[in-house]
């Protein structure tokens, strides 16, 4: 088992009066894929949004407890959130490329983070990121075309390329394939398998089969609580908790 990259201790999240997460203690291992599963509203997306402090943008949201990345508390108010988000990239349910060219979609992040000073440096980042996202061959001759003109699956890989362009350590994926067809999904899943060699990946998914295919560790959330976490194979063959079993076998009532 790899070393722990991200550690949450007694993490609680409140949206106003409503508590969305209850004392979540979860370790995420470096260069591994962790899948988070659970019914809608169970807190899995809220949890990953804590890892890059996306919840900061919601005024009524309050977070207690802590999350450490490489042993450093990220909820510290002195922490530079921009540089945190540089280290922790995110890919969303619906592909959301910028209304810009394919090239600009990738080069935007490195530019604002001061990572590509010259055109040739940016060219190199764009090519490397698109190659890593397995999109280079498909778009290399039309980098100046709008990103929004790509197919859904290509757009999602473009968003992944955009996320990795700033060389993050962690990639959060919130249902990245739910808007994609099976072939595009398969491509993303294959890509995830490749990306885990370099990055720590956390994926929220409603597809049990996808969780089994892509992850090494799975956590099951229900009503804001982490019910069970363990090796993916164990969770899907023989979970310890009855609630987990009822959920993954479709008996949840």
């Amino acid at each position: 088992m790899n070393e722990v990259k991200i550690k949450s201790n007694n993490l609680n999240v409140f949206y106003g009066d409503k508590q969305a997460l209850f004392d979540v203690n979860l370790d995420l291992n470096e260069k591994e894929v962790t899948a988070l599963i659970g019914p809608s509203g169970c807190g899995k997306s809220t949890f990953i949004r804590c890892i890059n402090r996306m919840n900061d943008v919601i005024d009524i949201c309050k977070v207690t407890g802590n999350i450490e990345i490489d042993g450093v508390e990220i909820n510290d108010e002195n922490l530079d959130v921009v540089s945190l988000r540089e280290r922790v990239g995110m890919v969303f349910q619906k592909p959301n490329p910028f209304p810009k060219s394919i090239y600009d979609n990738i080069s935007y992040g490195p530019k604002i983070h001061g990572k590509g000073e010259t055109k040739s440096e940016l060219d190199e980042i764009v090519e490397r990121s698109l190659k890593k996202a397995a999109l280079w061959e498909e778009v290399k001759d039309r980098l100046d075309e709008p990103g929004t003109g790509l197919s859904g699956g290509q757009q999602q890989r473009l968003c992944i390329a955009r996320a990795i362009s700033v060389n993050p350590e962690v990639i959060l994926m919130d249902e990245p394939c739910s808007a994609l067809d099976p072939i595009a999904t398969a491509k993303i899943e294959e890509l995830i398998d490749e990306l885990k060699k370099t990055y720590t990946i956390v994926i929220v998914t409603h597809s049990m089969a996808q969780a089994v295919r892509v992850s090494q560790k799975t956590g099951f959330f229900h009503l804001g609580k982490l019910i069970e976490v363990g090796k993916t194979e164990k969770i899907f063959k023989n979970p310890d908790n009855k609630m987990t079993q009822d959920y993954i076998t479709g008996r949840f009532g």
Binding site: F236, N238, P239, Q245, T249, R251, G253
Partner: protein, 230 residues
């Protein structure tokens, strides 16, 4: 399967699969009882019926295979449902093999003389009774999802091994007295061995049931009797 599936037809499909395995098990048990009876009574009239009943068992096996394929494709079962599906596949395979062995034993009745000495058959009869009891118990543990009972069957196979050894010895003794006995004694030796092999399939079924219930395989090696060791 305590709670019901959200999709009711999934629940029914799984139950239908389990019911098929139970029915197949009960057919296999009757066939074994009949074939043992035929040997002990040297009842040549029942041979055809027993051979025919094996066709029924084989049909069940194909039916179960189809049900399993459909379940896998339609439902992609997980956890307990996956284990239920996979153990049905394995148990039906073992039942089919037990059926083949009972059929093979029925065929061995044909060359037997009608006046077989009682003492020659008594050990074989004891062995047959034990294997039938083992099959009955293992099927019972499947129906009731009883882990302890399945494990008990698994451990008790040692007695099957020991009785096989004793039954073999009595046939060999008989054979050594007069070479004229060679032909049918050989058949009896094979019949004895078939029962021992049926016993092994029963332990496989017990293992599948334990895995189905707890999600882990029985640890350690199974106690083994005399025949296996020699």
């Amino acid at each position: 399967m305590s709670n019901e599936h959200t999709v009711k037809s999934y629940e029914e499909e799984l139950q239908f699969l389990v019911d098929s395995v139970i029915k197949m098990g009960s057919l296999t048990e009757s066939q074994m009882v009949d074939s043992m009876d035929a040997i002990i009574k040297v009842d040549k009239d029942s041979i055809d019926k027993i051979i025919k009943s094996d066709d029924e068992i084989n049909k069940f096996r194909s039916k179960i295979d189809t049900q399993i394929m459909t379940l896998l494709v339609k439902r992609a079962p997980m956890a307990i449902d996956l284990r239920e599906t996979i153990s049905s596949l394995k148990i039906s395979q073992d039942l089919e093999r037990i059926g083949d062995l009972s059929k093979s034993n029925a065929k061995k009745v044909k060359p037997l003389p009608l006046d077989l000495p009682e003492e020659l058959l008594s050990n074989l009869k004891r062995l047959g009774e034990l294997v039938i009891k083992q099959l009955n118990d293992v099927l019972d543990s499947y129906v009731n999802k009883n882990y302890d009972k399945a494990k008990e069957v698994w451990e008790k196979d040692e007695q099957v091994d020991d009785l096989t050894y004793i039954a073999m010895e009595s046939v060999i003794d008989f054979l050594s007295k007069d070479k004229k006995n060679l032909d049918f004694s050989t058949h009896l030796i094979f019949a004895t061995k078939n029962l021992e092999r049926a016993g092994d399939h029963i332990t496989n079924i017990a293992e599948s049931i334990c895995y189905l219930i707890k999600g882990e395989y029985l640890k350690g090696s199974r106690p083994k009797g005399k025949v296996i060791q020699e």
